[in-house]
Symmetry: C2
Subunit: 288 residues, 2 copies
Amino acid sequence: MTALRVLLAIAEHGTASGAAEAVNLTQSAVSKHLRGLEESLGVALFARGSRGLVPTEAGRIYVKHVRLALAELEAAAAHISALKASPWSVRLHVLPIIGDRWLLPRFSRFAELHPEIDVQFTTFVTADTAETADGVFRFGEGQWAGQCADYLFGRDVALVGTAALVSRLGGIQTAEDVRRYTVLDHFQTPLRWSEFAAAHGLGEFKPNHTIRFGFYSLVIRAAISGQGLALVPRRLVQDELESGRLINPAGLGFQSRNAYWFTIPEDRPVRPGLAAFHKWLLAEVQAP
Amino acid sequence: MTALRVLLAIAEHGTASGAAEAVNLTQSAVSKHLRGLEESLGVALFARGSRGLVPTEAGRIYVKHVRLALAELEAAAAHISALKASPWSVRLHVLPIIGDRWLLPRFSRFAELHPEIDVQFTTFVTADTAETADGVFRFGEGQWAGQCADYLFGRDVALVGTAALVSRLGGIQTAEDVRRYTVLDHFQTPLRWSEFAAAHGLGEFKPNHTIRFGFYSLVIRAAISGQGLALVPRRLVQDELESGRLINPAGLGFQSRNAYWFTIPEDRPVRPGLAAFHKWLLAEVQAP
DNA sequence: ACTACGGTATTCCCTTTTGGAATAGAACCG
DNA sequence: CGGTTCTATTCCAAAAGGGAATACCGTAGT
């Protein structure tokens, strides 16, 4: 069971050590779980490379199903916990990328501040999971029917890559130069590069080569390991930009209409636990 | 994880001890698993009665979701095992009621006969699970598009109940007498009682009281514990009829158009493992 | 070519969990 | 009121899970 969670974590992080952190285990445990799964299925799920684990065909299929299954289990738990919701419990639906790179690192502060509030996280998407949640983190333009949305961050999108990569291909002065590079993209939000092109008046944008990933964390990871250029909300790579592991050549980027929001249902009374979280969240976004 | 399987087994059997047998554990282990689940969810899933465990509202909801989740996992496994199918492996989709009461008890004979054949059972229903299966046990009239179907048994439906129940309410001479009894029914195949009524020219059949169950094994179990009369394929309660735990008053029953069939896809080449199983299955049905 | 680095696999060892046998207890039935 | 048929609990052995340390392997940069 934890093996399945481990599996998904690996799929999202692309490395066993990264996954280990995400599920609060050691890399050794993760490795063993993966091996256990592969043995019981009799199939290799990930190909071992020195840069991490890359899913095999079977792995991709299996991961897809396992994600659905865990989503269903999560929905089950959410559903029954909705039956006994106390005013001090909060059920949140969090996008993995936000949870990993933004919310969880600072959530411990909230937990310390409000030990009496019981916060439950949900990360997979199912039909009714969004319905039973008290608050949902979303990506989009800020309009959802029946939802009251607060902007968090993410409109400020930066073009990023490693210094080594950029200098090797002759540097980037203008957006035009990007055409020479491999670009990294995300399956579910493929519009980003055309938004970038539009913002810089590039017209038809046909990059040298595109690599697509199923998870945004993989896009970021690929950028860090120098595989190409990525468009990422600046806030999500703040650490890397400050430490120099990533650079933002020529300050290129654009203002996106799509960003990260936190929504709460309009029709439902706001219970005190949710109110406290909501307030904390907005404050945290303002003053980082 | 096994806890979830245990949960479903309990839901299907209505007793912890029965479930224990179904999942190859002891009753003690089952009890502990259930308690563990309930504690981690903070909700009672089953009400403890001295005649077994009956699901609570929360329990029913949870079971429903868990079934979907496990179906998904099963589909995952089936999917990837389809990728590496050897000619000596067979993937079967089995209806729980058949698996429990008919197939598994005699399957060990097949396993002894053909140790080289790797048989994989699947019991939950998912869209593609039926597609990847080599053979499927079905309930119906024998016509499925693209499937070649062999009749197994189940057309001979008997009216059954405990001797105690029947004598208490004054015995049953004709089908008319059934009206005085509580009847047991199955959600997914509710037509049975009207078929029975039609076969005996009863016209509008309005029984005294009806109890409905989500699983056919619960119907049988309820009949055995004297809760009412049930219509059951005779082959599925052969043991009980012979031992007298159930009786078939006045030999009442009817010939149903719906029965149990085994189907294999028409378009697919029949691999040797499947051929062997198929042959064994038909022989087993003939000579019990 | 060599070293530093970032990753995975493996070994050893301890802790926790799991599962079975036996037993106790509760409800129902005749 | 015994007998039967359930569940809950206790005790104990076995197995799985998980962490720390270490070995190992491929790549990148000098």
